[in-house]
């Protein structure tokens, strides 16, 4: 499949919603608004892009947006397609792709935990990686990992540091 043919087909089905770009090196990129994203993914899967490599999420804090990137690969055409969609950062949500690819569930669960994106229809968005997490989702750009670590895992950060030198040697 040539990029021209693919972009023609995209235009036929999605009109001006889908913006196609050839990034070179057998990587194509399609930008699509959220409401049309799931039909586009379904369209891609039916057009031999059967392998969902993974889903990544990027926090574009300057533009106040969160971008989801679905990485698709076609074993037949040997082409990688990045399907990108942007969500508002305040309340980011997306339809689940769990019905198209079963393992998308796990990726969405991870993104929900790490980036705070809600996936409508995902059966299990419970916490998977973090223990007793009460802070901002850690992969957001305004989360400061170093400050967190110093405050959470050192005695002085926790307010438990001994007052004087004598107490410092308590466990002996």
């Amino acid at each position: 499949m040539t990029p021209e043919r693919f972009s023609r087909q995209l235009e036929q089905f999605f009109g001006a919603d889908a913006r196609f770009a050839d990034k070179g090196g057998a990587q194509w990129e399609v930008r699509i608004p959220r409401d049309r994203c799931l039909p586009l993914l379904s369209f891609c899967r039916d057009h031999s892009f059967v392998h969902l490599a993974f889903v990544s999420a990027i926090d574009w804090i300057a533009e106040d947006e969160i971008e989801l990137v679905y990485h698709l690969w076609s074993y037949e055409h040997r082409v990688h397609v990045l399907v990108k969609t942007r969500l508002e950062r305040e309340k980011p949500w997306m339809f689940t792709a769990f019905r198209l690819w079963g393992h998308a569930q796990a990726y969405e669960q991870e993104i929900h935990e790490m980036m705070g994106v809600y996936f409508l229809g995902n059966p299990d968005l419970s916490s998977l990686f973090l223990h007793n997490w009460k802070d901002r989702p850690p992969l957001r750009k305004d989360f400061d990992s170093r400050a967190y670590s110093l405050k959470a895992y050192t005695l002085s950060g926790l307010g438990l540091a001994p007052e004087d030198e004598e107490d410092a040697n308590v466990p002996s």
């Binding site: 057998a26 392998h51 990027i58 079963g102 850690p138 989360f143």
Partner: protein, 383 residues
Amino acid sequence: MYLPDGYTTLDKLREAGEMAEYDLFFGPNHPGMHGNFGYVLTMIGTEIVRVRPNAGLLHRGFEKAMEGKAWAANVSLIPRVCVPDPDPNEVAYCQAVEKLLGCEVPIRGRFMRSITLELSRLGSLYMGMGGLAGALGHYSTMYLMMIERDMILDRFEALTGARIYHIYNVPGGVRNDTPVGWLDSVSGLLDHIEAQMPEYDRLLYENHVVWDRLSGMGPITAEEAMASGITGPALRATGVKADIRVDAPYAAYPEVEVNIPTSGGGDALARAVQVRLDFAESVRILRQLIARIPAGPVHADLGNLAKLKVPAGDAYSKVESSKGEFGYYVISDGGEKPYRVSVRGPSLPAGLYLCHQHLPGMKIDDVAAWMASFAICPPDIDR
């Protein structure tokens, strides 16, 4: 007493509420678990009814940590994503950065990358085969295979100075050229490996107990495998001829002849055999690489790597590791640090999704062997 097909006494008791369900924690602290990972199995008797993966025990916040380090400094962090098979991570990340930089790696550097990749694959496949043998209680094979794996690590140590985390690939090529006589020592090692392999074949692959255990365990068809993101040996074991070394060639693979082996069947036995075939092919590729390696520089001149600046943009790069597709999606905003690095590990689809399909209905006996047959490596699930 008449029971319809597939309806057992166990089902009858279950419906009557006479069989109690209980939770069994398979891992993280369990000898059958490779690495720090867990399944909470809901069981009736010895049969698994439901499974809940308990991931995140190895979570270290890689993707966040990489945003805080310089482009080249991240190379020191990256091999830790997959401990048994570290080099694919380095290569995938460096290739993504090079794609953004638009720089070309010298041909000898590309060969050196392929050689380290294949050596790392051999080490990881030894670990995988040994792990499978260990899950089946066949410790002698595991014990013996570690000798050869250690010899591979010795070669790595001579080349890079480190046994496990080589940090050998950097953006623009590899860190240094080979020491004198290193390629010959690798050739000698390959001779030794090929001489030893028949013994391990007799121990593991010609062992009827192993056959009986593995055949029919965790079957998967080609369509299911492709639709659930399975890559690497597990996909090829269903008969699909898919390998990134051929499909999207990188490093020095276009320069050598790569014959991707496949096997059919899709059960655990097919996956185990596929690993063995991959192993043999990897040795063949290494011999070609060593025979054909040209002279020349191993590193493109990128100036001071510590002050490397990468043009804005995004690039995805993937590498065929011993377990499947390792992918790095790298995004730059033009600064001295990556804006975001997103990692695709090969174990997640099997470890977090296929377990829901395969484990229910299985007996507790097979969980460890099932995990080993899919080469589930927890660090790249958790990252």
